[in-house]
Point group: C2
Chain length 316, copies 2
């Protein structure tokens, strides 16, 4: 299994040519989540060759325009493309009426079902669960109610060593329990310990998405676990700490400190102010605190195959 | 003086990479009008190096999303850029509430004045006038109320021949009347006819914008004059005439026929369906009827310096 984060946009509020507002396409255990949907996200999906049929769940962190102005245009296009399958939207409660108001203004009646899931903007909450994964929301601290999201693979069973089947004459029906960790008692009463029958389960990977927010020192308590991969906003560099505080954003250094505090394995920083033409200063500032920091450049894909192994593919 | 039409987007409803929804930047007698504002128009303005301070008047033809989903994002960015000067918006009456609803949802209170001018969707109407130009709206025929726009320079005074001043001892105070067409009677009672004192006034140029609409055979009656330049939608080619009729759009051939009927000097066609990868078929179809037809390719600027002289600059 693989956890994949595709950066569709990582600029802050003012879009520039080649720098789009926040949107990410997250794939975890083969489930897909579009996280935030700034203006132009549908074009960014096309540029990243992400088929619209893979849009199933859309999470909106908060209602600043640069995080959701592309939502209704995308929903309209899905309608024009004759979408039939339902779309699930998770967002601040007021968003639901806003979507229908704007659709009504533009004379669009969607031909597919839209299922709206209001987020709890005050407490951590389970927003999605199936047999393989869980997604929690948790409150961030911004100038308006804002949620982060925590994507988590569920613990997986241990891997059964096929050769043990014949060696110890284990019936097929027993394998499930052994994969859960049980030892095996053969017909002579000999106990074969589990570690001779199985190898460790593949890692259950996790990803936390945090934008827009001031640094939250208690963030670890809001997360169900330490994230393998953390995306944290870093709108400013440390010399603009006051500006960050005033606008309830974070500096690159603060983002790195948060990565340490929550015991993340890898950090991606993004949501850079338009004042930065290049991001090396922000990257170095964060790396001084948290060496495994990376930049959320558009068209970059981050692939996590185990806690330790992060692959970075730069798009063309 | 010059009439200039910059194509920011000319695709129909479904945006594709490199093909943006409708938006044009029209400059006439040094006044600027943004005409329609599909998703991503603010990025297109930047790509075309059109400074946001030149955004003064925004005309919205109708409320299909591909013609206005970029409006509130643009208004928000103007706010973030500390805009002070007012912005005038001309659109279907329901748009005003829609703008404020979406701004409220995104917690944005504009710091500059927004002046909304509801369009008359049923009758031709004067929507803007100053000493140099007039802009009329007129009803088109689409699946929902839709307006076209007619931009027109006012008649200009004739040009005074400077040499006549000394030759006929004309006092400065008389020049204004002579430029309006008056003859001159010198102190001996001799009449100097106006054509010896002046040359023809520079042409008063005009531009008609027509999208989305089925062909309107009576269109000439809705326009105050024959347009020098006509933009007419041509969503389909003639072999999809039935589809055009059903969706209340036009074919390239029909657009050309309308250009003939309204006695336009030049025609630009656009708003092409996503089914067309290239537009030569549409261009040839229109040219067979109306030879002076051009394609509204993005980043193209059409400059009209006289009725006859159309310059086309292709953007890079």
């Amino acid at each position: 299994m693989e956890l994949k984060v595709q950066i569709l946009g990582s600029s802050s509020a003012i879009p520039l040519s080649g720098r789009n507002p926040t949107a990410q396409f997250v794939t975890i255990a083969s489930r897909h989540f579009l996280v935030d949907c700034g203006e132009g996200t549908q074009i960014q999906l096309r540029r990243n060759r992400i088929g619209f049929s893979r849009i199933e769940h859309i999470l909106i962190s908060h209602l600043h325009g640069d995080h959701f102005y592309g939502l209704v245009p995308l929903l309209s296009t899905l309608h024009l493309l004759d979408r039939q399958k339902e779309v699930h939207i998770y967002g601040p409660p007021e968003l639901e009426k806003g979507i229908y108001d704007l659709l009504a203004l533009s004379h669009a009646k969607l031909r597919y079902p839209l299922v709206f899931h209001p987020l709890n903007m005050k407490e951590p909450d389970l927003v999605y669960e199936d047999k393989g994964i869980k997604v929690h929301s948790f409150p961030l601290k911004h100038s308006l109610p804002c949620c982060g999201f925590f994507f988590q693979e569920k613990p997986k069973p241990r891997k059964f060593i096929k050769e043990a089947l014949a060696k110890y004459s284990i019936p097929n029906a027993e394998i499930r329990q052994i994969k859960q960790g049980a030892d095996w008692e053969d017909e002579n009463g000999n106990i074969v310990p589990n570690h001779e029958l199985t190898t460790d389960a593949p890692a259950s990977l996790s990803y936390a998405f945090c934008t827009d927010t001031k640094p939250i020192k208690q963030l670890r308590k809001l997360l169900p676990d330490a994230p393998d991969l953390l995306y944290h906003e870093a709108t400013f560099s440390e010399d603009l700490k006051d500006r960050a505080k005033q606008t309830k954003h974070s500096t690159a250094k603060q983002a790195a400190e948060i990565a340490q505090l929550v015991e993340a394995k890898h950090l991606i920083i993004g949501h850079f102010s338009v004042r930065y033409d290049e991001f090396d200063e922000l990257l170095q500032e964060a790396k001084a605190v948290f060496p495994k920091t990376h930049i959320a450049v558009e068209k970059t894909t981050f692939k996590l195959q185990s806690s330790e192994k992060l692959l970075i593919e730069l798009g063309s």
